[in-house]
Symmetry: C2
Subunit: 208 residues, 2 copies
DNA sequence: ATTCTACAGTAACATTTATCACAGAAGATT
DNA sequence: AATCTTCTGTGATAAATGTTACTGTAGAAT
């Protein structure tokens, strides 16, 4: 099978793969689905096997500040952390490209840490990489101005989708950077004048 | 002994305490010491048994953006994460009140996860709480304006020291919020007019 | 007491970002 | 084709923040 767990999570031991297949439940969700809302209790950890998810921090006023993407072979660090303590979610997860996720129940997540070295390493690596990503987000909003943040945002998007077109409206981008549509339009126009992007309706082509 | 590890880390099992005492090294550092710089390789995890440490994210231009405080009974999540993978530090740690720390070598940190349930729980809880704190930092810089961030900063400081006086110059505060001294002075003056603080030289008294 | 230095206050101005207002273009709907 | 809706561009203006410049003051050093 092409999309076997072993291909997507190559570092998992064979025994771990078997255990996951026995205890996990594979679920599909369509683009647009909200997988998790701030304040909800978390009962599962999700391993992404297909598709793409965006993780947001929600503001009181309805802001949706983008933290990072989750892709096949990854898992949500925050859900892992909260799972163990059965805490409320601190974030919002939205499916942006139809996903398949392997749902791991709380107890297994915990148990496997002791039993499977490769699971332990995966969990630690997940924490590490997500922490780093959030720190990079902090850098951006703490030290950089909106034009740099916008460039970073576009770059991250194209890295995540592996393409050079961003199919989002200015309004959507503005929401995820917690600024206004006009600011995004203006900055994009300047980027176009600098030859960095080409602007179309609902699409931004990255040129460099 | 008053300040025994068991008192400071009440959730650690007795065996774990013994193991720590056997394998760890207790070290003291004076206020002002930089325990760790961005980019340094990490070879130890530090359990704080006395004093106070501030964790910063360093900007390229020399900014020192405050992430959070570490206090007795806590450990640096980032050092733990990096320790396991022997990665470079993503942060800077500065002693703000003479500390004693128990240094745990890389291998032990890793080994104990499998052997000591209470260590495992401590590590997970450390990840969780630090992640949450950093997310709160993101909230502040993403969604709030400088006056709110300043209020939050002062509150956090007084929570950390358990007192209502902040013995810092406006310049120091400005650096940790990545803004300018004048802005801090202005906002503090406004807060004083609103009756929230009383301003003295090198000291801000919180009144509410 | 005098001098020096770090700290604090504040005015004036520049820059960045946010908001308001409106117009035109691209698609979708009828 | 006519109408509607969404998206984009842009000017005008406001508000927040950053910068420059200067002043005064408290405490340390001489």
């Amino acid at each position: 099978m092409q999309n076997s767990l072993k291909n997507i999570f190559p570092n998992f031991s064979n025994e771990l793969i078997e255990t996951i297949e026995k205890n996990g439940t594979l679920q599909d969700f369509e683009a647009g689905t909200i997988l998790m809302r701030t304040g909800q209790y978390i009962k599962n950890t999700a391993l992404i096997t297909k598709g793409k998810i965006k993780i947001y921090r929600e503001g009181e006023d309805g802001g949706e500040f983008l933290l990072y993407y989750l892709q096949p072979g990854q898992a949500c660090a925050i859900s892992m952390i909260c799972t163990v303590k059965s805490e409320k979610s601190q974030i919002m997860a939205k499916v942006v490209e139809d996903v398949s996720v392997m749902m791991i129940p709380l107890q297994s997540m915990d148990k496997w840490m002791m039993e499977h070295r490769s699971w332990y390493e995966f969990v630690i690596e997940t924490y590490r990489s997500r922490f780093e990503e959030v720190l990079e987000v902090v850098d951006n909003i703490a030290f950089r101005s909106m034009d740099e943040r916008l460039e970073f945002y576009l770059k991250r998007h194209s890295d995540a989708c592996g393409c050079s077109e961003v199919n989002l409206s200015h309004q959507e981008i503005a929401t995820e950077l917690n600024t206004s549509r006009e600011v995004v339009s203006r900055l994009l126009k300047k980027m176009e004048q600098r030859g960095l992007v080409k602007l179309n309706r609902n699409q931004i082509e990255l040129l460099k």
